[in-house]
């Protein structure tokens, strides 16, 4: 198996935040913590693009590199996880991460910073797979249940793909070849129909 990966198709994402809701519901993520969120570029301008962002489970993870207590580890499937029993909540990972994935729950009037929380690729943590202890700290372990991350499986337009990197790449490649890419997949023609809509233009397709 290749590494587990997410990819978000900006041509399909409609900023519905279904992935965000699915994640929060699946893992009972506390108020103020968003393991996943949707980012929109040029919001309100024709041609705006949205993508769903969470931990990208980097191959050379900067969070892992800067953690002073070495609480991160990587599974055989390439999922970057952390141990909340070791985490000291210093926030270094938050500064190192280019995606803003690490989250810090706050509670109380003075904003006490708790242990770091982030997307687990629905793979739980070091506790026994599927146990109550694991659920309370990290949420559901869907991978151990033979399922893919909830955000991707709930995505209504299938903009967000998750799973084995090879499979995800195959799905995305097939999609791009079928629909084309670039300007012809967005706009009046695609929305309301035209002879060219959805048809790959001659040549220049990868």
């Amino acid at each position: 198996m290749a590494r587990m990966k997410f990819v978000c198709d900006a041509e399909r994402c409609i900023e519905c935040n279904g992935c965000v809701t699915a994640c929060k519901n699946e893992h009972e993520v506390p108020w103020g913590v968003n393991r996943r969120r949707v980012v929109t570029l040029n919001d309100g301008v024709p041609g705006e693009k949205s993508i769903s962002v969470a931990c990208m489970h980097c191959s050379d993870a900067p969070c892992m590199a800067v953690c002073p207590v070495n609480c991160f580890y990587r599974t055989d499937e390439g999922v970057v996880l952390h141990d909340k029993d070791i985490c000291i909540g210093c926030g270094y990972c938050s500064y190192a991460c280019p995606f803003g994935a690490p989250q810090f729950p706050t509670n109380g009037a003075f904003g006490l910073r708790g242990k770091m929380d982030k997307c687990t690729f629905c793979a739980g943590g070091p506790e026994v797979n599927g146990s109550q202890a694991e659920f309370e700290k990290y949420g559901r372990n869907r991978l151990a249940e033979g399922k893919l991350p909830s955000c991707a499986e709930m995505c209504s337009t299938k903009a967000l793909l998750a799973g084995d990197g090879d499979v995800v790449a195959d799905i995305f490649r097939n999609r791009v070849v079928q629909r084309g890419k670039g300007a012809e997949v967005w706009g009046w023609g695609t929305a309301y129909g035209s002879k060219q809509a959805g048809q790959p233009s001659a040549g220049a397709k990868s």
Binding site: G130, E145, G146, I171, N174
Partner: protein, 76 residues
């Protein structure tokens, strides 16, 4: 004078022993995670794969990904 020398020697020996008794400050080892293909201990495990069999688990996930995320395979 002799007493001061003994005191000084005692202090040196004590300092040396303190250095020897310093606790190691190495980082703890991460807890090893149980592989996902070992299955979850709850009633939500999806059917269609054999718990504990890595190949079966991988194939199950691949099939699930293709069936649930690639609508082109259904429409074309």
């Amino acid at each position: 004078m002799k007493r001061a020398g003994k005191l000084l020697a005692g202090m040196v020996v004590f300092a040396g022993l303190v250095a020897c008794g310093e606790k190691p400050q190495t980082l703890g080892v991460n807890k090893s995670d149980i592989s996902a293909y070992q299955g979850a201990q709850n009633q939500f495990v999806a059917p269609g794969w054999k718990v504990g069999d890595k190949t079966s688990w991988e194939q199950g996930l691949k099939t699930r990904a293709k069936n649930s995320q690639n609508e082109y395979s259904k429409t074309n």
